[in-house]
């Protein structure tokens, strides 16, 4: 089941800037209210609504309430205590953090210096550098949550997070200081680590548990650059990876499998082993048919069953050399059984779905299933499953 992560309501006149807060379903003590968005569900509102960061309800809010609010929200069922939400002056309510989910990310920017043909979140060229304040605030709110709500892992994604430059380093420093038990996973195209000093400064933060996931789509510059639609990107990414390796920042190599990358998957695996053997993890990833990938679907989509042999060869090549390799975003019935032990349930819970036929499958519980966006296009993609008998 995919989950709702935003909704819409009527903003109060004094909601003039974005407000972040942690959802509480009950009245809280005054000292915690600055961090809290009080969610009112039916019944009479609390007698005292002072000092909250914000109020959120599907009903009315008394005009006299001093805190900024969003009323008449369309649906708030998806929100739970401890969730961190963003209330926008437009009346938008976005969930930024859910303690119940293993898949939380800080979405740092909409900007990107590449334009990958299958980008799931196409970049926008807007100046959103002001959002750094919100990112730092979000980290603070997560850290001040209940101890059981501290995430084991937190993603940092975009857009391209390195475009934040120094501000990205500030985010990582803040995480190091406030969330030292939380592993950070940063998704970056790695191009800006071409500047060795940037890689060095990242390493110097000495975050205790950080990994940078960097996509590499080919062993050949022209092929990689064609996928990311940025000439010269391959060289920058490679030198960037070397720099990260030199400063001992753990890196993960991510290869998205589609028509433009599958042909060179095996030489790419060999290239990774020869030139990037320090990679801590290698993820071979199925395509998410959303964003630009939909626009380019004809030239990208390939049924995983049609590349099973290539995937098997590349996976075993890497595993035989001691590299930690995983297969993401593939339902088990689409890959050879020999590869099942490399398959991970990688699709974020809020967009992870299965087909009806999956209900009879004996391995559904450990199967990664599909992207919601793929299920939506099941006809066009000719999705099929072969339930595994007991």
């Amino acid at each position: 089941m995919s989950l709702r992560l935003q909704t819409q309501g009527h903003p109060s006149p004094n909601l003039r800037a974005n407000v972040l807060g942690r959802i509480s379903l009950v009245p809280t003590g005054r000292e915690a209210r600055g961090d809290t968005v009080r969610l009112l569900r039916g019944g009479d509102p609390d007698a005292d609504l002072d000092d909250y960061a914000g109020i959120l309800t599907e009903a009315e809010v008394p005009e006299s309430t001093p805190a900024p609010w969003i009323s008449h929200a369309r649906c708030l069922d998806h929100l739970s205590a401890g969730d961190v939400v963003l209330l926008q002056p437009t009346g938008g309510v976005r969930t930024l953090f859910r303690p119940a989910s293993p898949h939380n990310s800080i979405f740092t920017t909409d900007r990107c210096n590449s334009y990958c043909v299958m980008c799931s979140q196409p970049p926008r060229t807007i100046d959103d550098s002001e959002r750094i304040v919100e990112h730092l605030r979000l980290i603070e709110l997560i850290a001040r949550g209940a101890p059981s709500d501290i995430p084991r892992e937190l993603g940092i994604t975009g857009g391209e997070p390195t475009l934040l430059g120094n501000d990205l380093l500030r985010i990582i420093e803040r995480c190091r200081d406030l969330l030292p038990e939380t592993a950070l996973h940063i998704l970056s195209n790695g191009r800006l680590f071409y500047y060795g000093s940037f890689a060095r400064r990242l390493a110097e933060i000495e975050h205790p548990d950080l990994m940078i996931g960097v996509p590499l789509y080919s062993d050949l510059d022209v092929e990689h650059d064609r996928v990311v639609q940025a000439p010269g990107a391959f060289g920058q990414t490679l030198i960037g990876l070397q720099n990260l390796g030199r400063f001992e920042v753990p890196v993960e190599i991510r290869v998205v499998l589609h028509r433009m990358t599958i042909e060179r998957l095996e030489p790419t695996a060999a290239f990774i082993y020869r030139n990037l053997p320090f990679a801590a993890h290698i993820a071979l990833m199925g395509l998410e048919p959303i964003g630009l990938a939909v626009k380019n679907l004809d030239s990208l989509w390939i049924d995983p069953r049609d590349y099973a042999e290539t995937l098997e060869a590349a996976t075993f090549y890497l595993a035989a050399r001691g590299l930690d390799v995983s297969i993401y975003n593939h339902p088990l019935c689409a890959v050879p059984r020999s590869l099942w032990r490399f398959c991970r349930r990688s699709i974020s819970d809020w967009k992870n779905e299965y087909l009806e036929d999956c209900s009879t499958c004996s391995v559904r519980a450990r199967c990664g299933g599909f992207f919601a966006s793929a299920v939506e296009r099941r006809g066009m993609l000719r999705l099929k499953v072969t339930p595994i008998g007991l």
Partner: protein, 497 residues
Amino acid sequence: MASANFAEPPAPAPAYRLLPFRFERWKKREVLLVNDVGDSAFLDAPTFYALVGHCLSVASPGYLELKSKLFLTDGDPTVAIDLLATRYRTNKSFLSGFTGLHLFVITLRCDHSCPYCQVSRVKDGGSRWDMSPETAERAIDLMFRSPSPTLKVEFQGGEPLLRFDLIRSIVERILERNRTEGRQIEFVIATNLAPLDDEMLAYLKDRSILLSTSLDGPAPLHDANRPRPGRDSHALVEKNLARAREALGHDRISALMTTTERSLAQPREIVDEYVRLGFDSIFLRSISPYGFAVRTGAAARYQTSHFLDFYRAALDRIIEWNRRGTPIREVYSQILLSKILTPFATHYVDLQSPGGAGIGAVVYNYEGDVYASDEARMLAEMGDFTFRLGNVHRNTYEEIFGGETLRSLVASSVLEGLPGCNRCAFLPFCGGDPIFHHRTQGDPIGHRPTSAFCAKNMGILRHLFERLRSGDRFVVDLFTSWATGVPAPRCEEEAPV
């Protein structure tokens, strides 16, 4: 008129540049290319000539492989060169630690009288053949001057167990010193196991000390190679091997074999004996032209080609055992395969450039003389002090490790500058062994076409490349697992849960 007979003018050259590589002709119609970091590719002759003639078409099947493997570049060349530079640094990283292996020859006394002994020995005799505590202390001082974060201490002889008291005092002294030094230290004793007793075993276990013994093959061969009073060397090895494994753990004792003329006819039997005694590795070592080995003429008696026949037959047998499910690997091949198949640095003093004599390993002899290698010490026993670096009592660390002797030894083992080696495709996998060439050819640089060292390594490397491209999936997977140290992943289907 005659224009019809002229060749077509060459097509305009595609814009690519060659990156540095060396090559070797292979069975007439093929060429092996190896770049500076050890990546390799086979090309058929026409493709090779097109490549070096700068007219290889992008559409030709070899082009993309050569580009991917960094033999050519058609984009921004700085990217490929940066990648190669990083890997070159990685491959040469053995240099940064400087001397990591320190051999202590604590006594020349030995109960065996092996005719091939690469190390001279004296039959028991007095303590004048033993290392004094003062000499040991000075050697330990020198060892800790090495910047290497890891130190391997190897006790040698003679038979070092004959002076176990000395081993103990040196180990204790080193451990004490290491409380402030904080190095990672490993101890190993090279022993024939004959004098091993329970008290020694208790101490070895307590201090996690490794044993390395000699096993030449089945009893008749071993006892003929390694005579001792009673002719019971093999029986003692077998008995004490079991005791030592029982006390220390199965993997705490390794064995080395030396190939003699007698051994050459028994490759299968030797491998089988290692399997029978439960070893998962064997090191097929050829005889060296030093010490007693030379005095008895043993080295001269067989030719490198005979050794290569022996090596190939033994390797076949090893592969056969693996096919049958008994894992056993050949260590020399493993070192070479690791250089051929992995991007990592290997630490083996005889197969690196510059060579590891002195800068990777050093020998402190019983009387305090410091030698660049075991072979250098043996030369000295024969009256040739060319590679004596100094003496622990008379010289400083700077004089010993920074002196002219070691400098010129290192300089004459930089393959990139040695005639014959500098253009050899196998350079990234090989070593120079100036001490061997000094001994056999009267010159540390030597003459490669007549060098037994060169012939042996070329022969082994050619054979390994042949096996790798034989198309035998089992052998390729086996060699890969030797090279990477990763067991071949099982490909069988996973049962449903």
